[in-house]
């Protein structure tokens, strides 16, 4: 890297930040050292709770009052930020350093037009008159590649898409040409195709301007896509740092190796799945239309799912992949009859369950079970996990003792201590709770298990364990699994067949190998092209 000769824009030396007393550890961040050079993108990568966001907020001087930097210094072009007062920090923000946030939906003020919000930055920090400011804003809007800058200037945030809003945030951050841009998970809330565009934009802008970028992410795909150098964090300590190529292909530390090898490969695992099992679930032209009942205005009709034909055999995993709003969860919820489908048929074995009444449905409830995305909200916080697990079997006539015996066995199946059955959900971690949810689903001895983004909220290492567990259970119990995910890598590893959904329709459906290696539909192709780090084969360093 030719930038080595220049002075770094950001130098973090021996930084420690204390957590309030009673936290799970003493320091949120401990003795961290790194630099960001001009024109360089440094990725801070780590799992949740690793302290990566704390570092970003410390640099911006936006740390919550409860957290206190206890040692070290943060030098922005040689000036120590930790000792700067609030007035100086306010001068520095946006002029020398800027930040963009994860949620483009909430980071903008909904009652101001986008133009006014950028104008506020200019009014605070420059002496330009209003015509000059407007010209500058239009120019920056054009530079972040927003169409029709004049119209965007006068638009309110709710009139723009998530990707456009994130572009506004980037425009606001870069309008005064700061030397340092901090991006805190800027693409995590975005769909994969939008993410690819935003990543490209950030890379282009910082390259053209020589801005140093501190990029925070948990996604190694994104790291591979954008980073020059990578710093791996764990429990507030910097585990390893080096050029991207070296960290991804020749990591030294065991933790880094573990983390990177947990990233699922985008190439489908060749699973010798049996194709002769009996059909457990079949949908025929399944559809769900939401019609807003307008009393005074015209009813709004949204087709969430249209003509969805799927079938799953025993012992087989069918993946539904798609971006947000593609209708994949709607399909899952129709099949589980958490919502009622408006068109088509759902056959469970030979029984049609899509249209039958709630009373007739009850005996069939047992046969389809669902595991949800958010492990923190999937268990009733007021009752013990044991009671949650035995609730279903007891609804179907098992005695409490029999159900408890089954729950103890299931806890072993999902590799948790059976003695923990009398504990409450808040006593478990996210990954452990997701195992409990799987146990609760299995307690019903279902024929079809639906996993609705069941691993999306989990850290990559925990995600790997839960995926392995799900696959093992499928094999052992010869279950049919419907796996809903937006993550192509996860889908590649766990699915036998894949259905790609877009705007409520299945656009491509076939064996995982075929869909992943030889996509036919344009949408599928664009989806794979956008997958971050698709050219990297993570975790292939083990042999080297």
């Amino acid at each position: 890297m030719s930038t080595a000769a220049k002075k770094p824009v950001l130098e973090v030396r021996n930084l420690s930040v204390a957590l309030p007393a009673g936290g799970d550890r003493v320091h949120a961040v401990e003795k961290v050292n790194f630099t960001v050079n001009p024109g360089e993108i440094v990725c801070l990568v780590g799992e949740s709770g690793s302290g990566k966001s704390v570092i970003a907020f410390t640099v911006m001087g936006l740390l919550a009052k409860a957290l206190k930097p206890t040692s070290g210094e943060i030098l922005l072009e040689g000036e120590n930020i930790l000792t700067a007062d609030e007035t100086r920090l306010r001068e520095l923000r946006c002029t020398r350093m800027s930040m963009i946030f994860q949620e483009p939906m909430t980071a903008l003020n909904p009652v101001m037009t986008c133009g006014e919000q950028i104008d506020e930055v200019l009014r605070t920090h420059t002496k330009l008159d209003s015509a000059q400011r407007k010209a500058k804003i239009i120019a920056i809007l054009a530079r972040v590649k927003l169409p029709e800058p004049e119209r965007i200037y006068a638009s309110y945030p709710h009139q723009l898409s998530g990707g456009q809003r994130q572009r506004i945030m980037i425009a606001m951050a870069l309008v005064l040409d700061p030397v340092l841009l901090i991006a805190d998970e800027p693409t995590t809330a975005l769909d994969v195709t939008t993410q690819a565009e935003i990543l490209k934009l950030i890379a282009e802008l910082q390259h053209g301007q020589g801005t140093g970028v501190l990029f925070i992410t948990h996604d190694f795909g994104v790291v591979a896509e954008i980073a020059h150098r990578v710093a791996v964090l764990r429990w507030g300590e910097l585990v390893e740092m080096g050029p991207t190529e070296q960290i991804l292909s020749k990591p030294v530390q065991a933790y880094t190796k573990m983390l990177i090898s947990s990233v699922p490969s985008i190439h489908p695992a060749h699973r010798g799945g049996r194709k002769d099992g009996e059909t457990v679930l079949r949908t025929e032209k399944l559809g769900k239309t939401y019609a807003g009942s307008g009393f005074f205005q015209k009813a709004r009709v949204v087709k969430a799912a249209v003509d969805v034909d799927l079938d799953i055999r025993r012992g087989e995993t069918l993946g539904i992949v798609g971006e947000s709003g593609s209708g994949k969860s709607t399909v899952a919820r129709c099949i589980a009859r958490l919502i009622d489908p408006t068109d088509g048929k759902v056959f469970l074995g030979d029984t049609e369950i899509g249209k039958i009444s709630a009373g007739k449905l009850r005996p069939h409830r047992r046969r389809v079970q669902i595991v949800f995305q958010d492990p923190y909200r999937s268990l009733n916080p007021r009752i013990t996990v044991g009671d949650s697990i035995i609730e279903g079997p007891m609804n179907f006539g098992l005695s409490r003792d029999e159900a408890m015996a089954r729950a103890r066995k299931l806890m072993e199946t999902v590799r948790l201590d059976p003695n923990a059955l009398d504990r409450f959900p808040h006593q478990f971690s996210g990954g452990q709770r997701q195992r409990i949810c799987i146990a609760r689903a299995l307690a019903m001895e279902p024929e079809l298990l639906i996993a609705d983004e069941a691993v999306s909220a989990l850290d990559v290492s925990v995600q790997k364990q839960v995926l392995e567990l799900l696959d093992e259970i499928r094999r052992r119990l010869n279950l049919a699994v419907l796996f809903i995910t937006h993550d192509l890598r996860v889908a590649a590893q766990i699915c036998d067949n894949v259905a790609v959904m877009s705007q409520g329709r299945v656009v491509e459906y076939g064996a995982a190998e075929q869909v992943f290696e030889h996509p036919k539909h344009d949408y599928t192709k664009s989806l794979f092209a956008a997958a971050p780090g698709r050219n990297w084969e993570f975790g292939k360093f083990a042999a080297a």
Binding site: R366, F372, S388, R415
Partner: protein, 311 residues
């Protein structure tokens, strides 16, 4: 596979985490507002229960010889058996010679009874209607329009109408106050039911075939308890005030029963000369309502963090 086996959780590591979340009730009773309001309220309850033993005389006893005495005057009382007793009227007497101190203490009973019964009845009715309204979709629109209608009825006007149909009395007063309060409880319960029924754990319970009633009482209803307790305190405080206002207007508790509103109504005519008739019941009324509201604030801060200003 080895990665999984390492993850097997031993009970010790889970138990350690359990200290993180304390029972909300324990936190609540340590809140200074709850303690302060609770102590005053406890005092009021004791006064109501122990009124006969706190040096009071029959609060309805009329003594023409001792009318309109200022607080602290010594009064000679002639008992039924002919003997006479001397006692100091701490809060004076009213225009019929009744002992204000005794009347105020006995009046505590009426006020607390009205406050507590209004809160309980309104919550009992409101919870049932709110659950149905939040859970049964087709009934929602109908129920809520009726509730909107009920909410539009002012309690005092309803009481005037009811008194003219029935008799003035405790039940009439409670009924008149409960009717416009029920919709407030219904709205609260309905809003909680609507949020909670979308929670994945409720959907999880649906998918394991849990019957609707179990679903409501086991998974949904417990979420309403804390907000309802908070709401209940505010309902009780408002009910005590409304009862006093109704009694003051002469359409509440019958005048022979001592209630703070009645005492004040009786003292109204001679307020400029003998302010004690209004002052003492007024102090008790203000103190009780203040105590309940302060306690309600404290409970809201601890039990219902979403409603409080603190994060």
């Amino acid at each position: 596979m080895s990665a999984i086996t390492e993850e097997v959780v031993d009970s010790a590591s889970i138990a350690a985490a359990s200290t993180k979340r304390k029972s909300l009730w324990l936190v609540a009773i340590r809140n200074p507002n709850v303690i302060f309001g609770g102590i005053i309220l406890l005092g009021m309850v004791l006064i109501a229960l122990l009124a006969p033993f706190l040096g009071t005389v029959d609060p309805t006893r009329i003594d023409p010889a001792a009318r309109n005495k200022k607080p602290g005057t010594e009064i000679t009382m002639r008992l039924d058996d002919g003997t006479t007793v001397k006692r100091v009227a701490i809060m004076g007497t009213d225009s019929l010679g009744r002992d204000v101190y005794s009347r105020v203490l006995y009046g505590t009973r009426v006020s607390l009874a009205v406050g507590i019964s209004v809160a309980l009845v309104a919550i009992a009715i409101g919870v049932v209607i709110g659950l149905v309204s939040g859970y049964v979709r087709w009934a929602d629109g109908i129920i809520m329009r009726i509730m909107d209608g009920l909410m539009a009825i002012p309690g005092i006007l309803l009481a005037i109408a009811l008194v003219s149909i029935w008799r003035a009395g405790l039940i009439t007063v409670v009924f008149a106050i409960v009717v416009p309060d029920v919709p407030r409880v219904v709205r609260l319960v309905r809003s909680i039911v609507l949020t909670v029924r979308e929670e994945p754990y409720v959907e999880g319970a649906i998918s394991v075939g849990t019957p609707t009633w179990t679903l409501m009482f086991r998974h949904i209803l417990p979420n309403t308890i804390a907000p309802l307790i908070v709401q209940g305190t505010f309902l009780a405080a408002a009910a005590i005030l409304t009862e006093a206002a109704l009694s003051f207007l002469g359409i509440g508790i019958p005048p022979e029963i001592p209630s703070w509103g009645n005492i004040m109504a009786e003292g109204r005519t001679l307020f400029r000369v003998f302010p004690h008739n209004i002052l003492y019941p007024g102090i008790f009324l203000a103190l009780t309502v203040l105590a309940i509201n302060i306690m309600g604030d404290g409970l809201r801060d601890t039990l219902d963090p979403k409603m409080s200003k603190k994060v």
